[in-house]
Point group: C2
């Protein structure tokens, strides 16, 4: 039986996870499928429970699972914790070897109205950012914090760059067949290495074209001309910043799921949004991105397009009927939206 | 007599510099002022002339000047140069101690139409990014490029952070009295140091409020809610990326000047846009940002608001009359626009 490790995390995390799991359960009844779900403490919740953000039992459970479903972690409550919730996130990425973070940015005709961009610029936007997730300045050593100075190190190996570029090129083959590598090669040595490696990887994908773009120029173009991109491949830090910028142009960060892909072990699926401490406990958290994360997991890991389709259709119907949480201008609660989706199922 | 070192640089650089200097000369006649201008090779032009992007004579001239006016450098021609044009830019920043790069982002009512953002989001945007310019990952050691791996180092000292924050807080005092420090303190040691130092600097400016924002969250907000910012203070790399994103939301990167402020020596003024190799030599380069750089220099270094005003008014008149280069939807050339501005003077 397929086995899913669930990490509800903090603040609105458990609220949206519960919603998505109830919907998932209802869909399983329709398609006669059966997924085993096991929940583990993670992030701030785990700090509160056992004093560390990624307990060994949580990691073991995640490792043994076929897929990991994460809601969101963090919050001001743990600002002064010895180890913060975010440390757990970095550790699970590293331990599960989740080296490729994949974030789609798509503005469908129906979503153009939510974009902060003018319709003519927003429409037809459809690109994917493939972000390196287990190296770069997030993990490089030495890292040192003193009172007089501090140091961070960005380190990349050829092998790390090669495998993430291969994910990007493979993805481009089933899309518009173009990869843009984002870097700062006019300043950084690691960026120059990315260009060197890209020059050796590209010839293996003769059907895919490639270009290079400076990260600062790309930060402009995501706003001024986002339709020009197909697949963007970039480092951990640049991917962090630009994928959030990319999410913002959809006007719908409450809807976007992401996949973090490992090597042999499970993939991890999560909304791109955070734990929203400001609205935690109010019952108004938007569950759409969490639901879309379940759909993405069913499609990409379990190839269960049937159950995914049932959820997707019910979600679309509910959205079209205008049952939306306040962040989308509606007055539904997390619970009433969940009930409406289950009804549509 | 006030003394200005002029660095025309590469591609469209000399074209827009010539335009701006002709206009500047015409304005001096009106206000009866007299600035000495000395031009030096820099960037690719200097590589071609003497084999290095920042010749000693250029640096000496810049050091001796009261202000430095730079157009733009770089181009594909020098991609394989031993030392690239950009290396000259980093060197002159470091040698002149230009630690504070100041970039205004303002969307006036008349400019809302050019913004890629919907008018309701764009209107009233008015913030300044204060970017640290002589440290961080741009200059940290070790920096190493091999074939198997590569390393970059980000290093910040308390003193470097303190002085840039002081610029930001002082600037906020004559604006909306709010500073936002952008960092990635949930991951980076250097960012944690920025927060530590900010906590010691802020109390010296009791009239200014401060908050912290993660750089990825800020990359979202610049697109979704740009009016919330007043003064943004950030590191060299984050400032590079976010100030370009900020420029993009104006829809008018062809208009924005910037100031790089030193300690005792001259400030440097330059357009935020690049050298635009694709349109070099075509005579259609937009000179507005270069002209605005002259205005910014006259105002901030020479406190010559009279000459600055003469140029500004003539420029505004010309823009309002619709005399604009193709990037702004007009059909003026650099020369015809320059002639129109001089006529308006
Ligand atoms: C919470 C933080 C450490 C994390 C990151 O920077 O990777 C987040 O911003 C993300 O993008 O998943
Ligand atoms: C040309 C490049 C080295 C430079 C930088 O990254 O600082 C440019 O992007 C800038 O912002 O002035």
């Amino acid at each position: 039986m397929p086995n899913i490790a669930v990490l509800p995390g903090d603040c609105i995390g458990p609220e949206i996870m519960n919603a998505a799991l109830e919907i998932f359960k209802a869909a399983q009844q329709v398609t006669n499928t059966n997924y085993t779900i096991q929940s583990y403490p993670f992030g701030g919740a785990a700090i509160d429970a056992v004093g560390e953000p990624l307990p060994a039992s949580t990691l073991a459970g995640a490792k043994a699972a076929d897929a990991v479903l994460l809601a969101a972690i963090g919050g001001p409550k743990w600002n002064d914790a010895k180890e913060r919730p975010e440390a757990g996130l970095l550790k699970i990425r590293k331990s599960l070897n989740l080296f490729a973070n994949i974030r789609p940015t798509k503005i469908t005709p129906g979503m153009v109205q939510y974009s902060p961009l003018k319709p003519d610029i927003a429409k037809n936007t459809d690109f994917v950012i493939v972000r390196e997730l287990t190296s770069g300045i997030y993990f490089g050593q030495p890292r040192r914090l003193g009172t007089a100075d501090a140091v961070d190190t960005s380190h990349y190996t050829e092998a790390e760059i090669k495998r993430i570029l291969e994910v990007a090129f493979t993805m481009a083959q089933s899309r518009q067949k173009h990869v843009t590598v984002l870097d700062k090669a006019n300043v950084l040595a690691t960026s120059k290495l990315w260009r060197q490696v890209a020059a050796t990887v590209a010839p293996n994908y003769p059907d895919v074209t490639m270009d290079f773009e400076y990260v600062d120029a790309a930060a402009m173009k995501i706003v001024s001309n986002p339709t020009q991109f197909d697949v963007i491949a970039t480092s951990n830090l640049f991917g962090d910043i630009l994928s959030d910028e990319a999410a913002a142009i959809t006007g719908s960060i409450g809807t976007i799921p992401s996949e973090s892909r490992g090597i042999a072990g499970p993939n991890l699926y999560e909304p791109i949004h955070g734990s929203a401490p400001d609205i935690a406990g109010k019952g108004i958290a938007n569950p759409i991105a969490m639901i879309n994360s379940v759909v993405m997991m069913l499609t990409n890991t379990f190839h269960d397009t049937q159950t995914a389709g049932v959820i997707q259709n019910a979600l679309n119907q509910t959205i079209e009927a205008g049952t939306l949480t306040p962040d989308f201008g509606g007055n539904a609660t997390t619970t009433s939206m969940t009930t409406a989706i289950i009804k549509a199922i």
